[in-house]
Amino acid sequence: MALVELRDIDKTYQMKDVAVKALAGVSLDFARGEFVSIMGPSGSGKSTLLAILGCLDRPTSGHYTLNGQDVSLASDDSLSDIRNREIGFIFQSFDLIEQLSVLENTEVPLFYRGISRGQRRRKALEAIDRVGLSDRAAHLPRELSGGQCQRAAIARALVNDPVILLADEPTGNLDSKTGGEIMEVFKQLHRSGRTILLVTHDRDLAEQGDRIVQLMDGAVVDGGN
């Protein structure tokens, strides 16, 4: 059984009088340990697919099974739990909480999981060490470079040991050298067995994954199973 199973996913947004269909009958499987790139022009439904995969939104119809659990009908609270335990988000603009230090940012997912202070600190420091940011743990995001911020974000995404990493244009705000370094981090994580979904419009980046899923007008046009 695949780690991620999407079956006939439809997503329709109701705008005043018109219904806009963002996804139409998307079916996709991602295996455990796979590194898949999702590509497509703007408006192709990439973001919507990412929102559904990330349990930030529910499909209008269809079924989404993550790690053996049907999440398409889960309550808001259970979706929060799933995001917290199963999914690690990495955003284009890093999205660290500006008033919190790298360490505190990394502790946030552990905090919402209800883990005690001491354990939180220990686990967060471990994750920060893994991305090579130990000497910056006490710094605020604004005191870090873009690359360091993205490493911190990766540490935060990894801290709850999720089954899947969702990266949304993770190098979009970085220069090509730093972007390359971040891609190296992803490849390393992939080698150690992580499942990674990379959303990008950059073909060079996309090709570094095992497989490319091409979206167009809310449907998978290439790379599906």
Binding site: G54, L56, D81, R83
Partner: protein
């Protein structure tokens, strides 16, 4: 997760607020003033209540007090030139009638002010020298601190003894022990046999100060030595007044019969005093009146304080709504990282409550200061009670929760999908 992390949430909330010191400070101001108003309102109310109670207590809750007073029309007549003899006030006949006819009475005590100056050596003091009876001390619930009060032997013997109060001791015997010393009242010498305990709170309340300046001598001695005539010399005329008794205090059996006894006395006096040359005071009525005033005061001031807290609360809500909008992205990120709606609600509620509680604590000092300022005008002490401080805490926490719920709810019900949008 709430319990163990409560302290941490408060810490994080306070830290978030301290990022915007000016804004948080200005937001707090509303609560500072609101709580300040509550504190000073309560302090003033409490002070005036205590003052009223201490005055009433001094008069005795079971007592009906009647005083002689110069009838209003004669006060005008006495301004004319020449000698004028006025005769007014409570009489021995009144006293006898009250003693013999009024039911449900435990004690009746008469008092007569001899209207004489008091000397110790060359030191002069003008005060009330009251000729009275031994029961006066019990009726007024007034005890000697040293020596004794008047006893029946003093009455029988028309003894030349005097009992002084603390005010008199302070003024006439500032350094020495007054016990056994002599006082000259008018032309007669009296031996001091007792000093009463202090009366009233620090003597700031006017009537307490008055009672604390009395000198008591036996009733019979007062009549024998000074008679019932008194002469007052003024430029242009001489006023002679004839007055038998200055006050009659009747103590009822119990609180329930006070009103009835007061009515009977009123009926007796009315018959013999067409000129209205007496005043009847029922401390119990004063107590009820004081309670009524307190209620009105509480409603009026409570509304004022309530309005200022409402305004403060709306200010807080306004700022928190702005803060929620400003931090939309942070909220969405927290949601993406696994925060439940209630986590977000708690986060913002904690911030609002920290803000308003801090405002509340800050408001206690200006409130107490405001009350102190009023003390100067009101002439009585204002009292900041522990209860009012606790209440201020409670109110500010409540304001924080009430006005924090909507912004927190708004924060929690934003769509987390927005986390994926780039700014």
């Amino acid at each position: 997760m709430l319990g163990s992390n409560a302290a941490e949430m408060v810490y994080l909330g306070a830290r978030d607020l301290s990022r915007y010191k000016l804004r948080s400070g200005l937001t707090m101001l509303g609560i500072v003033f609101g709580v300040g108003a509550v504190i000073s309102m309560l302090a003033i109310g409490e002070g005036s209540k205590r003052k009223a109670l201490s005055q009433i207590e001094m008069l005795g809750i079971r007592n009906i007090v009647t005083w002689s007073r110069k009838p209003p029309q004669e006060q005008q007549a006495s301004t004319k030139e020449g000698t004028y003899v006025s005769e007014y006030g409570l009489t021995f006949k009144d006293l006898k009638l009250i003693r013999e006819t009024v039911p449900k009475v435990t004690r009746v005590v008469a008092g007569r002010d001899v209207r004489q100056d008091v000397f110790v050596g060359r030191k002069l003091m003008t005060t009330r020298v009251l000729g009275t009876e031994p029961a006066y001390a019990e009726v007024m619930n007034f005890k000697p601190a040293r020596g004794r009060f008047l006893v029946s032997r003093d009455i029988e013997d028309r003894a030349k003894v005097a009992v002084i109060t603390q005010g008199v001791r302070r003024e006439l015997f500032p350094l020495e022990d007054p016990m056994g010393k002599c006082l000259r009242i008018g032309s007669e010498l009296f031996e001091i046999v007792g000093v009463m305990e202090p009366r009233g709170e620090g003597g700031k309340s006017a009537s307490a100060a008055d009672l604390d300046r009395d000198i008591y001598i036996p009733f019979t001695t007062a009549l024998a030595a000074y008679g019932t005539l008194s002469i007052r010399m003024e430029t242009g005329y001489r006023e002679v007044s004839r007055l038998e008794l200055d006050e009659v205090i009747v103590q009822a059996e119990d609180k329930e019969s006070v009103t009835e006894v007061a009515k009977v006395i009123e009926a007796i006096l009315k018959k013999n005093h067409e000129k209205q040359d007496y005043v009847e005071k029922v401390p119990l009525d004063l107590l009820l009146q004081a309670k009524q005033h307190e209620r009105i005061w509480n409603v009026v001031m409570g509304s004022i304080a309530g309005v200022s807290l409402l305004v403060g609360g709306i200010g807080i809500m306004n700022i928190m709504l702005a803060s929620v909008t400003e931090r939309t992205h942070e909220i969405n990120i927290r949601r993406a990282l696994g925060a439940k709606r209630r986590d977000i609600i708690v986060q913002f509620l904690v911030e609002t409550v920290v803000l308003s509680l801090f405002g509340g604590i800050t408001g206690i000092a200006p409130g107490a200061l405001g009350a102190k300022t009023v003390t100067g005008y009101a002439g009585y002490d204002t009292v900041v009670t522990a209860f009012s401080v606790v209440l201020a805490f409670g109110i500010s926490a409540a304001v924080g929760i009430i006005f924090g719920i909507y912004p927190a709810w708004k924060a929690a019900y934003m769509d987390p999908v927005e986390a994926l949008r780039h700014e």
